[in-house]
Symmetry: C2
């Protein structure tokens, strides 16, 4: 019951991009707006209250399709796909276009921080025992150009309930932004 929304979401991602980059005249923009408003009306005929939250898929597994970074149903999400490596580190490869711009031609520094928050949390989580972010520190080495990027993270050390994680975002020339994070695993009761 969720898969049919993924092609729709991809279409909305394309729409976000061309909404920013279009140079058509007023009449064409108005015609496009009419189509968008009709789509909103159609989709609004049956809306869940509030946000997507965590929902159970047909196979019983929890899904977070509305997540702003990994959600297949959230058009804001690139979406990131996090790969877990056998040694416990994680990486993700993704492309950021016009929708994520800060300085001209570059990824907004805040977007880099947002992605690093999510990627650094990934190796800190244990199955059934999620960690909460305590502190995240982001160091900007140089501007990050829009385009194809990679982020990775690994656990640096564990000290009691605290897990220290390090990671970075890189383009083809190497790291552009580094980060370290402290994640706290709530005590089991």
């Amino acid at each position: 019951m969720t898969g049919e929304f993924e092609p729709l979401t991809q279409s909305v991602r394309r729409l976000i991009d061309v909404t920013i980059r279009s140079e058509v005249g007023n009449a064409v923009a108005a015609e496009a707006k009419a189509h968008i408003d009709r789509a909103v009306e159609l989709l609004s005929a049956d809306l869940m209250p509030g946000s997507y939250g965590m929902r159970t898929a047909d196979d019983g597994r929890p899904t977070v399709l509305g997540n702003v970074l990994i959600g297949a149903r959230n058009p804001v999400a690139p979406p990131l796909v996090i790969h877990h490596e056998p040694q416990g580190s994680v990486y993700t490869e993704f492309e950021l276009g016009a929708a994520y711009e800060g300085p001209a031609g570059h990824v907004h520094g805040g977007v880099c921080a947002m992605i690093l928050d999510h990627v650094l949390a990934a190796p800190a989580h244990q199955p059934g025992q999620p960690a909460v972010t305590g502190t995240l520190t982001v160091r900007y080495l140089r501007p990050t150009r829009l385009g194809q990027l990679r982020a990775e993270a690994r656990v640096d050390r564990v000290d009691g309930a605290k897990t220290y994680v390090v990671g970075h975002i890189a383009d083809s020339d190497g790291a552009t932004v580094e980060a370290s994070g402290v994640f706290i695993r709530p005590r089991r009761r």
Copy 2:
């Protein structure tokens, strides 16, 4: 030549929200997708190459309408409106809905970091002399519920080329996330 795209962008923001929250059946979702694809086609008839960047408005002032946080033409942007107070501090009041979700019902911690990156940079900038972010440290005090929020920032101290800024995001019960940042003003040549 840019104002006509703002109502269109608002429509796309509504579309992002209902794309996440809709529970309509396959046939209606497909009909909505057809309208979205038609809008994409119309807007793509004339596209600027690359991203929006910084463009000059009719009155000669630079505009950053594509910015992921403040861009009036970027549907991903809430958009933030940054208010500068006479003493140099800044604040912004905004609402975050389903599109910015991380943990169920709550703002993604990375979104908080992204917003704080932008808001803390604001008081560090001087007219004609923008500062670049060196380091941003974010401390998560408690979960931030989706809904109406406020962020603020002020310069803590200036030491040579470095400007130290502090700030936070708050809901109606007080601060949920605190941040400090070091911003570097490139030397004048």
